[in-house]
């Protein structure tokens, strides 16, 4: 056994960090994420975990895993770069929203007010990370055959699809009845899970323990520690957007 193995699962520590953060005043928390790309195996479990957690419809995705090839044959490699919304501290999407439907909340999370968004998609165009998608109102169960008694048919399957997720900790109407169809949608660090003391879905589903989450202003937290690593970098840092998502090379 390697001596480098952690004494405990990072999830346990992050859970402790989360508990400590939640004891603070909300406005004193600044959520941050660190993704160690050396540990990411490219399994896409975070993408699927996010889709399931937020019940994302076809064409809507909050967290993708980018695949990059490095080097020249025969010295080649692949690396995986998960890309959630990077929650810029200087977000270009917030400035361009004409009706203040997207804004940075007290904890530094860039959120969308589904009931205010007019669906102009200027924020999609302005995001340098392509981290926003528009909900066009598609259904996975479209064109599913309807054979009652023989198949789990469209009606039965859409029962699942029609129930909304608890995004932003709110109760939303059944799918098909207005927002978030027609809205811009994006990762919100699973605020609804954080509110009840759970880590974001992408963090808990990461099989390589490559995604870390916590209060980046808490010196005792794992993310605070990792942000200080010499391996740290952020995507498109030259744009001055100051993302709250950090990467470890």
């Amino acid at each position: 056994m390697s001596v480098n193995l952690p004494a405990e699962d990072p999830l346990i520590r992050m859970q402790r960090d989360l508990k400590r953060a939640k004891a603070k005043n909300l406005k004193d928390i600044k959520w941050g994420m660190v993704i160690d790309i050396a540990k990411c195996v490219g399994c896409h479990a975070c993408t699927i975990g996010c889709v399931a957690e937020n019940k994302l419809p076809p064409g809507v995705v909050y967290r993708v895993v980018l695949e990059e090839e490095t080097g020249t044959y025969p010295s080649v490699g692949r690396r995986f770069v998960p890309r959630p919304c990077v929650h810029c501290q200087n977000p270009p999407c917030v400035k361009v929203c004409p009706v203040k439907a997207t804004y940075k909340n007290e904890q530094g999370v860039v959120v969308v007010d589904y009931n205010r968004c007019i669906g102009c998609r200027y924020c999609l165009v302005a995001c340098p990370y392509a981290a926003r998608t528009s909900d066009f109102g598609e259904w996975y169960t479209d064109k599913t055959p309807e054979v009652p008694g023989k198949l789990v048919s469209r009606k039965a399957a859409s029962g699942y699809e029609i129930r909304p997720a608890a995004e932003y900790g709110k109760k939303w109407p059944d799918r098909g009845q207005g927002s978030p169809i027609g809205n811009a949608r994006k990762c919100h660090f699973c605020l609804h899970r954080l509110a009840v003391g759970m880590l974001p879905a992408c963090v808990t589903t990461c099989v390589g323990r490559a995604t870390f989450f916590g209060d980046r202003t808490d010196p005792e937290s794992l993310v605070y520690e990792q942000i200080g690593s010499p391996r740290v970098y952020r995507l498109k840092e030259e744009l001055g957007t100051q993302p709250s998502v950090y990467y470890l090379k």
Binding site: L66, E68, V96, P98, K100, G119, G137
Partner: protein, 413 residues
Amino acid sequence: MSNNKEYLFRILVALSVAGLVVGSWGVIEVMRWGKNATALGSYVTWGMWVAVYLFFLGLTAGAFLITILTYVFRVKIFAAVGPLSAFTVLVALTCEVMIISFDLGHFFRAYRFLLTPSFTSMITWMVIFTNAMLVIYILECYFLLRENLILWSKEEGRSGRGFYRFLTFGKRDYSEVDRVADHRRVHTISLISLPIGLIFYGVNGAIFAILLNRPLWNGALTPLIFIVTALLSGGALITFLTYVFRIDDKLVHYLGQVIRFLLVVFLILELLQFFVGYMTGVVAQITSLNIIAFGPYWWVFWFFHVFLGSLIPLYLLARHRANPTAVAWACFLIVITFIAVRLNTVIPDQAVYKLEGLEATFYHARLRTDEYFPNLTEWLVSLWVFSLGMLAFLVGSRWLPLIVAGKGEAEHV
């Protein structure tokens, strides 16, 4: 000649009505299914309707050009087309607002612009200045037409006199004092419209220009190009209409000279955009430029824009500038091919993935940049708006004193 005109008028009305009927299918689809009825995606998220919006935006600049030349720079000869161009701008502005409303995911929340406007957003300023332009040109149109509306409301045997009385708020007399006052008002409104108009077209350019992640759009040149392209396409429309309505052939000649100048300026700016883009060497920018010039829709750029919309008009405007028919043809070609310019403004930058590897992850048709081509719904809705605009213009040209009000206008400038 008169019979021919009547025949043409009826054909155009019939075409507009047919366009409205056929286009209604697209409108119904959008009402039923929202944006799901379109081919738009999350990466190429502004498509044909935004291009058509910009097309109409350009057409509104015709009146701006005319009124500024007439009432600010005192070029008297253009005064004859003042009322016609002011009405044209009203129709184009209305079409512009309609097409962009279809593009919104939640049109019925447009009231949010009043409740929670964000002044850091260029779209908010676009809304403010669109409304300012609407108010300016409603007032300008009204004061330019008022005298003739009053005359028509009293003219024995003229049908619709009640309607004209309604438009004049029941005013029955029109004195010399009224005439002087109305011309003073038009002059004042035109002066106000100079800064507002320039900001309006500039703001629309700034919507694109401020985006740091969009190398093709980002830069100070973009708002300037928007102002020049608006003046070019709008001016070309007014020139064409001046010829069609047989207002004054001399005027067509002068307007043709203005259009030739604007076309040359625009082509130089476009050339600069390509030159600077290629020389900068930014991969995303070069890729976007390559999409325009050598991509799957290269013919939109080379055939429609460069050949049909630029070279032929330039030839006609240079070699046959004394021939009003040739000038009108040149302007007609500029106007109808300008949608190609707008499509090449809106789509190519979005057609480049902004992160490496984005194209190879999480496949869905709405998450591709190479699969966008306007679908039938988008074409039908565009047709519907075009048809409605054309019908409104035809009805206005028939039942409003747009031509007669321009006659003798020069002496008041």
